[in-house]
């Protein structure tokens, strides 16, 4: 629940000057049903003195929007148009003993309706300079559009600077992530440095081993397998080389190694040692595969 002042509640429960004003000669419409609040301010202005004789409002909106509208009509009654134009949104908020930060836009809407009504009376075209983004800093009611504009205009690059320029982030600091996102977005647009293409790290090239003759190569394979055999034999298993055909090394697992759960792990372990010793890729295959087309590698 919002922390509304007693005055806001009072003006909401008992709004002053609500409803249409039949002989109004200055009407200001602002807001939209889409935004969730809209206000029609109706003034009766004495054409000679430009004195506001009466003021009414119709408002679609929350409690503080209705209270702000009510306060506005009370404030401007009896003022000349020029005096009324000097009424700031802060004055409307002060009249109500303050508004929650998220609700300050209700007082801004009141001031805009006033300007629109005066323009309507004087036959001018009124353009609003109203833009409102998502609320980023709730402590000081600063929205994303304002923060982005200030960052851009002043070339800001840190949250601290944004706080100095807009107050945003100067309170509870929970919006710092949001401020950083806006900073990053603007910085990215501002950055003119050529994009650096990320080079994939070069693959490590193993030092080329001297090329072995066929005989040396087979001897080397045999040495590796012989060095492993004692370990297999300890577990009541064994291995024998059946054939070496290019990169395919065909072996028979024997004894306990046959059908062992670890068969695949054993084979890939031996294969890794062979690759290491030979400096080239080889594939260890069961002898049963001999004569069949080699596995896709």
């Amino acid at each position: 629940m919002w922390d509304y002042s007693e005055k806001v509640r009072e003006h909401f429960y008992h709004p002053r000057n609500a409803g249409p004003l039949v002989d109004a000669n200055a009407v200001g419409d602002v807001g939209s049903i889409k935004c969730g609040d809209a206000l029609r301010l109706m003034l009766k202005v004495d054409p000679q003195s430009e004195l506001i004789v009466d003021a009414h409002f119709q408002t679609f909106g929350c409690g503080s929007a209705i209270a702000s509208s009510s306060a506005l009509t009370e404030i401007v009654k009896g003022k000349t148009l020029d005096e009324a134009l000097k009424v700031s949104n802060q004055e409307i908020a002060d009249y109500l003993d303050g508004l929650p930060p998220e609700k300050m836009h209700c007082s801004v809407m009141g001031r805009e309706a006033l300007h629109a009504a005066v323009a309507n009376f004087r036959g001018e075209v009124w353009n609003d300079d109203h833009s409102e983004g998502a609320m980023v800093c709730k402590c000081f009611a600063v929205d994303a559009v304002l923060i982005e504009k200030v960052i851009r205009d002043n070339k800001l690059s840190t949250v601290e600077q944004v706080t100095h320029y807009t107050k945003a982030g100067g309170g509870c600091s929970s919006c710092h992530e949001g401020v950083e996102e806006i900073l990053a977005k603007v910085a990215q647009e501002r950055c003119t440095a050529p994009a650096v293409a990320v080079q994939p790290p070069a693959a490590a090239v193993p030092p080329a081993k001297p090329r072995l003759t066929n005989f040396q190569r087979m001897r080397r394979i045999e040495e590796v397998v012989e060095s492993i055999r004692p370990m297999l034999q300890r577990d009541h298993g064994d291995i024998e080389i059946v054939e070496v055909d290019g990169k395919n090394v065909y072996v028979n697992l024997k004894g306990a190694c046959q059908g062992c759960m670890m068969e695949q792990a054993t084979l890939s372990g031996i294969q890794a040692q062979l690759i290491d010793a030979l400096g080239e890729f080889v594939q260890l295959l069961p002898a049963a595969m001999l004569g069949r087309p080699a596995l896709a590698s």
């Binding site: 609500a18 419409d29 029609r40 409690g63 998220e102």
Partner: protein, 402 residues
């Protein structure tokens, strides 16, 4: 005048039986359940008992599938982050646009880290399209997270079917069921749902305790690591008093399930039937034929929700609204916008959520209070004339900026 609390989807009052069961755990039963001595042992047994009661409420096959957490949000975060971490080969999430922020904000954040998030849209009644869902499922889907029931409209989702479809591509399925538990029958062992979030304070247990159901054999990675509590799946000393309270609340929920679907539903229907004919330009949002028994979400066109709530509050009636002004953001509820509810109505949606404590006399007071409030606010509104909305509300009253 007694206050009337119709905001039970936001939170509920603790049942007096729950409070009574909890009290000893603040005084004589203060031990740490992990301790060897008798101070701890008693607490450990009480937690075990609470776990079994929650198991019964959810229809879980094993009590070890119940993991106590601190809240629904923690359960949601744990489920989604666990699924991503346990399945590094999968990097996609499927969820809906009408989830609770506990899911949506997490997904937004994960998206920044490179996770692909698909958000299923809904139709005018808040229903999702299963064909669209099917087209999004892929071998890259890590987890699907869909709420059992929507918190604003009460609309129910076909989570059981969706869980089966998720398993079709090997993805996990999580449901944020904080609104549904205790209001609709849930029997998880008959489903393929892998994980489910529950929040204590939505079912008359205290705040600060929740549950993540994790089906046995679901690959799981804890969010909080540390001690061995909850079998290492959620470290941190157990909130024993609250867990005991949740156990009692779970049992009471089982006992009152039929009452919820008969009496509470009858009062909800009475409320709608009492208000709608008296207020022109008002309608029920969501899918009235397929929703929670306790939830009525009514849109009142051309008035703003916060103003309605303030006037209701003055008469001691508590409800909530999807209007922009009540949330602090400048947009009306994401659920209403997702359903394409026009702005003329979205700002004026009011959710009345009942509980088993709601009485018929209270409902009749609300029925009497609402129509004059709406009429009073419409009188103030520039969009409302003598006889109803001004011709083409946006045309008749067209302010200088939109």
């Amino acid at each position: 005048m007694d206050p009337i609390y119709l905001d039970n989807n936001a939170t509920t009052a603790c049942d007096p039986e729950v409070v009574a069961a909890m009290l000893p755990f603040f005084t004589e039963q203060f031990g740490n359940p992990s301790s060897m001595h008798s101070f701890g042992n008693q607490v450990g047994l009480a937690i075990k008992d609470a776990r079994q009661r929650v198991q019964a409420l959810l229809g879980a096959e094993h009590d070890s599938e119940i993991v106590f957490t601190s809240c629904g949000t923690e359960s949601d975060s744990t489920a989604i982050l666990s699924a991503l971490k346990a399945q590094p080969e999968r990097n996609q999430i499927i969820t809906t646009v009408v989830e609770h922020p506990a899911i949506l904000t997490l997904c937004d954040s994960l998206e920044k880290d490179g996770v692909v998030v698909h958000r299923l849209g809904v139709d005018k009644k808040g229903r999702i399209d299963l064909d669209e869902y099917k087209s999004l499922l892929s071998p890259r889907t890590a987890i699907v997270s869909v709420m059992w029931a929507n918190n604003e409209t009460g609309t129910l989702f076909p989570v059981e079917t969706m869980a089966e479809m998720a398993h079709g591509v090997g993805a996990m399925f999580h449901s944020d069921a904080v609104q549904a538990v205790g209001k609709v029958a849930i029997d998880l062992k008959q489903t393929q749902i892998d994980m489910l979030s529950l929040s204590g304070h939505k079912l008359h247990a205290p705040k600060g305790v929740g549950v993540l159901y994790v089906r046995r054999n679901t690959r799981f990675r804890p969010l909080l690591r540390g001690g061995h509590q909850e079998r290492g799946r959620r470290a941190g000393t157990e909130n024993s008093a609250a867990i005991v309270g949740l156990g009692v609340a779970a049992q009471l929920a089982v006992e009152h399930l039929a009452f919820e679907n008969r009496e509470v539903k009858r009062l909800r229907d009475r409320l709608e039937a009492g208000i709608l004919p008296q207020v022109p330009c008002s309608f029920v949002t969501g899918d009235p034929g397929n929703r929670l028994p306790n939830t009525a979400n009514i849109a009142f066109e051309y008035v703003e929700g916060e103003a309605i709530l303030l006037l209701l509050n003055k008469q001691g009636i508590a409800a909530s609204s999807g209007s922009a002004c009540t949330s602090g953001s400048l947009e009306p509820s994401h659920v209403m916008r997702a359903m394409g509810i026009p702005y003329t109505a979205a700002h004026g949606t009011i959710r009345f959520s009942l509980s088993r404590y709601t009485s018929e006399a209270q409902i009749d007071r609300v029925i009497a209070a609402v129509p004059p409030i709406i009429a009073q606010l419409r009188q103030l509104s520039p969009y409302w004339g003598e006889r109803g909305p001004v011709a083409g509300a946006d045309g008749g009253f067209a302010p200088a900026y939109a």
